[in-house]
């Protein structure tokens, strides 16, 4: 068997001394899509940020292996250059920096000497038109005054250009109208292949109609409480998280 793409082993993480991730183990193989569903505040974004090494989140126990390598102590940029991408739930505005300049700089950082300016321009244009964004998008400042939908498109535009091997998509579907959801999902599907693993965080089973997951995980209070197939998402839609929220009931 080949090495898993991502292996999270008993991961515990805290923020400001408060434990948010309480022992997560999860394995994603190349080519797989894993959906992660859980109530607000359960720690899904914390997991995404911890996987990218956000300095605010302190890992107190456990390990993250990427292609078999222990990356638990790696800096954020090294993880990105190794092929991990995070589609942010709340993308950050960087005023004064144009989308084109930003994406070009990111590509240069990742490709190093292999970066080809001419290729970049061609690819960038094609990626924009595939995601249905106007050319003027390139000269706007990163996420500055973007609508919710535009922000999410920009995340997928970056993913398209950076070609990661692991994409963590944190509620990429939230804030999208029906047409945008379709365009963005198609954008993600175009990138699927035998090399790419995806961790898809969502509240809605709707997205999973477009992007068929191999595994669905139920995430409650910093832990994965159940894993199953696509039908689990349907079950959650019908019954909610109540059956899993033992702690909430006794508290």
């Amino acid at each position: 068997m080949s090495t898993p793409l991502l292996e999270i082993q008993d991961l515990h993480a805290e923020i400001d001394g408060k434990e948010i991730l309480k022992g997560i183990s999860l394995t994603i193989n190349k080519g797989q899509v894993h959906a992660l569903m859980g109530p607000n505040g359960s720690g899904k974004s914390t997991l995404s940020n911890a996987l990218l090494g956000h300095p605010k989140y302190k890992i107190t126990q456990g390990k993250i292996l990427f292609n078999g390598q222990d990356i638990t102590d790696w800096k954020t940029d090294a993880r990105a250059r190794a092929g991990i991408f995070l589609g942010f739930q709340y993308p950050i505005a960087v005023s004064g920096v144009s989308v084109a300049n930003f994406v070009r700089t990111a590509m240069k950082s990742c490709a190093g000497a292999n970066f080809q300016a001419k290729e970049f321009r061609k690819e960038f244009k094609a990626a924009m038109s595939a995601l249905g964004v106007e050319e003027s998008f390139a000269t706007r400042y990163v996420n500055d005054g973007f609508s919710g939908g535009e922000k999410k498109r920009l995340e997928i535009l970056q993913m398209t250009m950076l070609k990661p091997t692991l994409a963590i998509l944190d509620e990429t579907d939230s804030g999208l109208d029906i047409d945008a959801l379709k365009t963005v999902s198609e954008g993600i599907n175009r990138l699927r292949g035998p090399e790419l693993g995806i961790l898809l965080i969502t509240h809605y089973q709707r997205l999973l109609n477009y992007i068929l997951p191999d595994v669905v995980h139920v995430f409650v209070d910093g832990k994965i409480v159940r894993s199953g197939g696509k039908e689990l998402a349907l079950e959650l839609e019908a019954k909610g998280y109540a059956p899993y929220e033992k702690t909430a009931v006794t508290a």
């Binding site: 990218l52 800096k75 954020t76 950050i92 990111a106 950082s109």
Partner: protein, 382 residues
């Protein structure tokens, strides 16, 4: 000396006026002693410029050094030199410059002439260690327009230098002028820098200060909107690292109705660099229906870096639009994380954030080609 009659008077006034108190509002945040010239200087420096196109010279445009101008166009220089009035700030130093200057830059655009391509000049010390007293005089005629990039450089091997510079700008009615001062002194240079621009009816002045070099840069920049309809865009970019110290004071003096001034200064400071910004908007009783804005923002890249910002308003009339803003803070760690999550090393992420921060100033530079050139100079410095 330039052998200009007013220089003798200026010297007497300079001698009669005491040095400012170290504890005065103007000096309590910056080291005065380091800026007082030990001798009355004969610091040699060169004034250079790119040749102005022949058709512009035919049209009467003059771009040359001040001594040459005084020889070739004595009447013209005499008509305008030392005529913009006594500055409110750094007065003693302005008198010193007026008394002792013997060289500088002269730029003259006759009425109605449009100089399309930006002109380019620069001043560089010859490095004999004595203080420099350069004088810049710009006159833009009625309805004329031009852009000048005026650079300050140090030779690669140059040692410490003290420079006391003064610039006078006169914009006649309907004149349009962009003046970009690109300061790239070496890291041991100390400068005092006075500036007074007088804007006549409907004149439009864009003044862009780019401060990248120097150990100490103390500036007093005054813009006088003296007649109705005058408009000034006052922009500044300061980047300091090491122990660099910037102390900038600005004056937006509205003396006539329907005048507009819009100031935006941004500084980025690293290591233990420091910037002090003080700015006064003064609106005289006559200056009704005036718009005046002032915004100063600083980004601190290290814990030891510091920025002070003190805006002031003196409004002697009503019926004006006046706003000022101040913001000082470290880089936003969420932005850094976002950029690093795309593969940018921290230093590269900060560089991009800084260039974005300056972009709101650079995007207001009127000439597109210039914008890129300036962005390149700034990003090279970062």
């Amino acid at each position: 000396m330039l052998t200009h009659p007013s220089q003798k008077t200026a010297l007497d006034q300079f001698n009669a006026l005491p040095w400012p108190e170290k504890t005065s509002e103007e000096w309590r945040r910056s080291d005065l002693a380091g800026l007082i010239a030990a001798d009355n200087g004969d610091g040699a420096f060169s004034v250079r410029w790119d040749a102005v196109p022949p058709e512009m010279i035919h049209a009467g445009v003059i771009l040359t050094d001040l001594t040459t101008a005084l020889k070739q166009f004595p009447g013209l220089v005499a008509e305008y030199l030392f005529k913009t009035g006594t500055p409110r700030g750094l007065t003693k130093f302005a008198l010193q410059n007026q008394a002792l200057t013997r060289q500088g830059l002269f730029c003259y655009i006759p009425d109605g002439v449009h100089v399309d391509l930006p002109m380019h000049s620069w001043i560089e010390p010859a490095g004999n260690g004595s203080p420099l007293f350069p004088r810049v005089l710009v006159v833009v005629g009625e309805g004329a327009s031009a852009t000048l990039i005026d650079e300050r450089r140090s030779p690669a091997d140059s040692t410490a230098m003290l420079c006391n510079e003064f610039t006078e700008v006169l914009l006649k009615a309907d004149a349009k002028f962009s003046y970009i001062r690109l300061q790239r002194w070496n890291e041991s240079a100390r400068e005092l820098f006075g500036h007074r621009a007088v804007l006549k009816r409907n004149a439009h002045y864009s003044h862009i200060q780019i401060g990248l070099g120097g150990e100490m840069s103390k500036a007093n920049l005054e813009t006088i909107l003296s007649e109705t309809g005058a408009k000034a865009d006052l922009l500044g970019i300061l980047f300091g690292s090491g122990k660099q110290h910037f102390d900038f004071n600005t004056l937006q003096a509205h003396e006539a109705p329907h005048t507009t001034s819009d100031l935006l200064y941004k500084s980025v400071l690293k290591d233990t660099a420091k910037s002090i910004y003080t700015g006064l908007i003064r609106i005289e009783k006559e200056a009704k229906q005036t718009d005046a804005y002032q915004d100063n923002r600083s980004l601190l890249l290290s814990q030891g870096a510091k920025a002070d910002s003190i805006p002031r308003l003196e409004i002697l009339t009503d019926d004006v639009q006046c706003k000022h803003g101040v913001a000082v803070g470290p880089v936003d760690e969420d932005q850094v994380f976002y950029l690093m999550s795309r593969g940018l090393p921290r230093a590269e992420a900060e560089r991009l954030i800084v260039s974005g921060f300056f972009n709101s100033v650079l995007s207001r530079v009127p000439v597109e080609a210039l914008r890129e050139e300036l962005a390149a100079s700034v990003s090279q410095r970062i």
